[in-house]
Symmetry: C2
Subunit: 208 residues, 2 copies
């Protein structure tokens, strides 16, 4: 399941196939990692430049956070595939008797909750990545600023893509309290961070 | 320069570094390919299903187009790196004499035009990918429809990210007629396809 160790080309190829994983969750995590790396790159191009000596320590701290987020998001590509397998198996359980039906419901519910947690973590990581882009846009080297715009656009896409993978899982849950709490958290992140990402992008675009 | 042959993990790592390539253009092309593959995957999960037999031929035709676009976008990752090198060299040319200045302007202009063409091609490919997602959303298997939403969000990000790489190059061109023509084409694509991508995403999200 270590898709990130395989080539970019083969990731795209397997993604396009009917193989159960990777899917939208894993793809969102990878796109989030790519977006985070673009902000991080602007940091890398800023460090060591005389012109930006005053913000060097800030940039180094931002880069450390970006490195950690990139690693988290790359790890979530594999995590998303891991939680999909039990869910996929649960869908196939028999439900011919009331006992089987009850057992299937129980197993499904557990698998849905696990499968919902990963895109939620992808969303949380993308929110933090968008916050980092806000800082990179302010303090990063002007020559590479377009890459902050590209990066934040990718993080926005990853946030939105992952949200659909939260909603597709909460929709089938019988525990509606858990489901609605998860939906509220996901909607809260979208409501705050999609407009923030748009603002960062527009600020960058306005420089050209 | 064959970044797509390397691992996803190393692409993200090199992207985050101060290495001149890949940059925002190449990352946008890869994210566009990932987005296209997500739509394509929904097609793969639709083909061969009795329930969708009526649209099987349409889906096969869409998948063929998606395969071609994925390949184009993956090839554009390398193309973007190829055109960046001469531009990077041109920036370093001396301009101490009027002759050197004139030569630098000439070489820069040529390199800027080449460097602008690649993100423009990425944008054109993303527009076609967004059109494919519109069809996949209508005809694809309902069970995988969230992936159309993820895919179109990625193609939108790639389109917007690539546009910044058009604008950063046109900004420095002395041939303003060429530059304004390129800007107009890029703005035209954004004006039409960003709202279309949003509409497709919203239609998918409304199903949950």
């Amino acid at each position: 399941m270590e898709f990130i160790k395989g080539s970019c080309e083969s990731f795209v190829e397997v993604l396009a196939s009917k193989a159960p994983v990777p899917g939208g969750g894993g793809a969102s995590a990878l796109v989030g990692a790519i977006g985070t790396a673009l902000g991080n790159m602007v940091g890398s191009l800023t460090v060591g430049k005389k012109k930006y000596a005053a913000v060097e320590q800030d940039i180094l701290a931002l880069k450390e956070k970006a490195d950690a987020l990139q690693g988290e998001l790359l790890a979530l590509v594999a995590r998303d595939a891991e939680v999909f397998e039990p869910l996929s198996k649960a869908y196939g359980l028999p439900k011919d008797t009331p006992e089987e039906q009850a057992e299937k419901t129980r197993v499904m519910e557990e698998a849905l909750k696990a499968a919902c947690q990963v895109p939620m973590e992808i969303m949380r990581a993308c929110c933090r990545a968008i916050e980092l882009h806000e800082e990179f846009a302010k303090k990063g080297a002007a020559i590479a600023i377009s890459d902050v715009g590209c990066g934040v656009a990718c993080c926005r896409a990853a946030l939105m893509g992952a949200s659909l993978n939260v909603f597709i899982n909460t929709k089938s849950m019988t525990d509606r309290i858990y489901a609605e709490k998860a939906n509220a958290e996901a909607h809260g992140m979208m409501d705050k961070y999609v407009p923030l990402a748009d603002r960062i992008f527009e600020d960058v675009a306005a420089r050209f």
